[in-house]
Subunit: 138 residues, 2 copies
Amino acid sequence: MEIHIENVGEYLKNSGIKPSYQRIRIFQYLVENRNHPTVDMIYKALCAEIPTLSKTTVYNTLNLFIEKKIVNVIVIEENETRYDSVMDVHGHFKCEKCGKIFDIDIDNEHLKDNRLKEFEIKEQHYYFKGICKDCANK
Amino acid sequence: MEIHIENVGEYLKNSGIKPSYQRIRIFQYLVENRNHPTVDMIYKALCAEIPTLSKTTVYNTLNLFIEKKIVNVIVIEENETRYDSVMDVHGHFKCEKCGKIFDIDIDNEHLKDNRLKEFEIKEQHYYFKGICKDCANK
DNA sequence: GTATCTGCAAAACATTTGCAATTCT
DNA sequence: AGAATTGCAAATGTTTTGCAGATAC
């Protein structure tokens, strides 16, 4: 689940997205901070460098990224939409104490052996919740 | 993933919930219609029989059910919270065309063989999206 | 110079909260 | 009567939309 993008502008262009300054910075944020951020986290982080940035643009941009399939939505929690630039199939674990979200490798071959054969699957989401190692040792 | 509840009132009482008329009808709806409904679906369906019902009560009741662990939340989709009275671990497949949600048996033993061992898991959610058999044949 | 992109303000929703009225025992 | 429950109206929070001004090619 690793991606290495030297040139974000090129990457966006190849995905059919005009690489505006805001779009580049938002995508760069997702790639550099693999923190599965909310819109608010992205907005607050980038506001420092782009004082004119609006939340509308963050929403518009993320929706464009999703449409062009370079960003995934994570809805592990009600009323907390998060975004992920890693497009490989993987799972997410959210710690109930610290709130951090961890990436989980999923061996999903075994899951295919059930009723799922009847469906044409386009998306797979694996979410787990509990207590992470660090919080358990406190 | 089958539950058979003859007496909803008793079931609620045993779960530490006072079985008011509204609570019984809402839980009954969930058990009888395994359609993973939204708040709005429950509200509209029950309004016919309980004209004075308010959405606040549906929200309050579902939150109580979740707290008492007799109902699960399904957040397969952004801005579309759904509810399920089946508490066994299982997955959900949502058809992008007809919008229907199907229950999926999950053999999750194989998933345990990865980084998940590091976490104390309390909840597991398996969501899939795509096209169901019926919609594929149209 | 024309298309597109951005960002403000308002609208649209979903959910929660405060509180008064109702219900149940 | 007393405690819990219900339901209205208002508040909150998130995401979308309309549109005017800014930007890019």
